[in-house]
Amino acid sequence: METPFLEMKGVRHSYGPLRVLDVPLFSLAKGECLVVFGPNGSGKSTWLRIASLLERPGRGRVFYRGEEVSGKTALNVRRRFVLLLQRPYLFRGNVEKNVLFGLKVRGTPRPEMRKRLDRAARMFSLGPLLNRDARKLSGGEAQRVNLARAFILEPDILFLDEPFSALDAPTREDLIQELKRVLKETGQTTVFVTHHRDEAAFLATRVAVLVGGRVLQDGETERVFASPANDEVARLVGHATLLKGTVEERRGDLLVIAHAGLRILAAGEAREGSEVLLFLRPEDVLLARRKFESSIRNWFEGRVLEISPGDRLVLVSLDCGFLLKARLTRAAVDELGLRVGETAWAGIKAASLRALPAGVENGD
């Protein structure tokens, strides 16, 4: 096996008496796009600062390409990484100066800076912004400048701390698409902190769930979503159903997706024959005793595997040839008279099934 890019062994970190991080073993391979999930105060920012060598862990060792990072090598290794903070902090001056900052502190020769600036500006369509005052940009523009000043450095690992959390929904969507495209083009190894499930599903090849400074689950995106290791993880990732399938046909703005012998209609953009990931929130699943005439495009018959009560809502698991999770009110379950072992129909609108190109590394 290839030597991991980044490894942490026995890393523990405390602020005063408060233990904020306890990671016995962690490793990141080249080309991975890891998403770190965690609620506020779970230690993910500390984790990012230690992994990106901005902070030295109280205990434990960090390895880069198999070599232990020491005080002597820290700066050089750190310069192969970039961390972008949650709120983009742009320095005083124009956009160009901000994008070039990292190259400048590294003493990069001028012609090289120009060459890379052109490329980064094209990558994030910054052309018309370069001479603008960095402090007078919109949120979306500022985030594009932020991303550009990271990609211009061509880092070995890019660390992103909830980069889109401060943006409005449409801007966020656009930027995620843009980031996805760039990640694909560059094969960038990335660590991404977020608490949005769809961001994780869309970008990650691997998900690590961090709670109270400990990694509760670490694995392939689909596995973590489909079978959370425990209740805490489940609460966090939210029982979404994730399915991998192949686009069989495009019917207008609909995609016909084949999954384990089933045909699923979903909204989204993808080429015929390409692999996609379907992302479905349990709130968007309708359960009925029988099919009825409606706008619902997808009907699956399934056997009820489990009915697990939550705080106010009930989570119903069905075996429809795939594991489907539906969230209903207690009253709805009672009225339907659903019991474990019985069959029921699950209805899913094509519009609530989002088809996303599968995993970054095996993109088209």
Binding site: S52, R78, V82, F91, F101, V105, F159
Partner: protein, 239 residues
């Protein structure tokens, strides 16, 4: 009333005719206060930066002392500098008492706490994200400090000008250590005291006008800098 009026007329006349005595005093004032401000800047800004980014025992005490120093009575500074530079004092052998150098020393002691205190406040106002993001993009610690300095450059300039303003209008210390010797250590403030005592009001008024103009220029620039950036957007009102 008449005396004041003729005084002002004569003063303006002296300023317009470039009276050598007046301009000699103005020039010396600018040299001494300028030197003191420059030295104060070289000491005060690094001190402010150091105090803003470091944590060590006694840091709070030093900050408290700087804050006290910002309001240090110039005559007290004058007294201590005079005691040290006095011919039989600890530094008497340097023979600095009643020289412009002594005046610069006294003014530096007045200016340093002002610049250090205001510059510390300016540095502490910079978002901690600035330095963190700089390092996260590959800056060394020193380069990150430079970023903090650049991010706070406007308030830093205000600190420098407040220092200059404090020094140029101060009279007690320069009088005690400089001695107000005509042509050697006479500056605007000490000259105004002297000319008023001797009844040469028109000269005193002329010098006051220059001092006022200097003070005004410094403060106007300071206000402009402080207000800049805050006026890009103004809400429309119904009235």
């Amino acid at each position: 009333m008449d005396m004041i009026w003729t005084g002002i007329v004569k003063a303006v006349d002296m300023l317009i005719s470039l009276d050598p005595e007046i301009y000699g005093i103005v020039w010396l004032t600018l040299k001494i206060t300028g030197a003191a401000t420059l030295i104060g800047l070289c000491v005060g800004i690094p001190a402010g930066l150091g105090l803003s980014v470091s944590r060590f025992p006694g840091r709070r005490l030093i900050i408290a002392m700087i804050n006290t120093g910002m309001g240090l009575p110039p005559v007290v500074v004058g007294l201590f500098v005079a005691l040290f530079l006095w011919r039989i004092g600890p530094l008497g052998s340097l023979r600095l008492i009643y020289t412009p150098a002594a005046m610069v020393i006294a003014q530096v002691l007045i200016v340093v706490p002002i610049i250090a205190g205001l510059s510390l406040a300016a540095f502490q106002n910079v978002d901690p994200a600035a330095s963190l993001q700089a390092r996260a993009l590959g800056a060394t610690k020193a380069q990150a400090l430079l970023v903090i300095l650049k991010e706070s450059r406007l308030p830093q300039m205000a600190a420098v000008m407040a220092g200059f303003g404090g020094a140029v209008s101060e009279v007690g210390a320069v009088l005690m250590v400089g001695g107000n010797i005509n042509g050697q250590t006479r500056v605007l403030t000490t000259a105004i005291v002297q000319e008023t005592r001797m009844g040469r009001f028109e000269v005193a008024i002329a010098l006051s006008l220059v001092l006022l103009a200097l003070s005004f220029a410094v403060n106007a620039l300071l206000t402009y800098i402080q207000q800049k950036g805050g006026q890009e957007w103004r809400p429309h009102s119904w009235k």
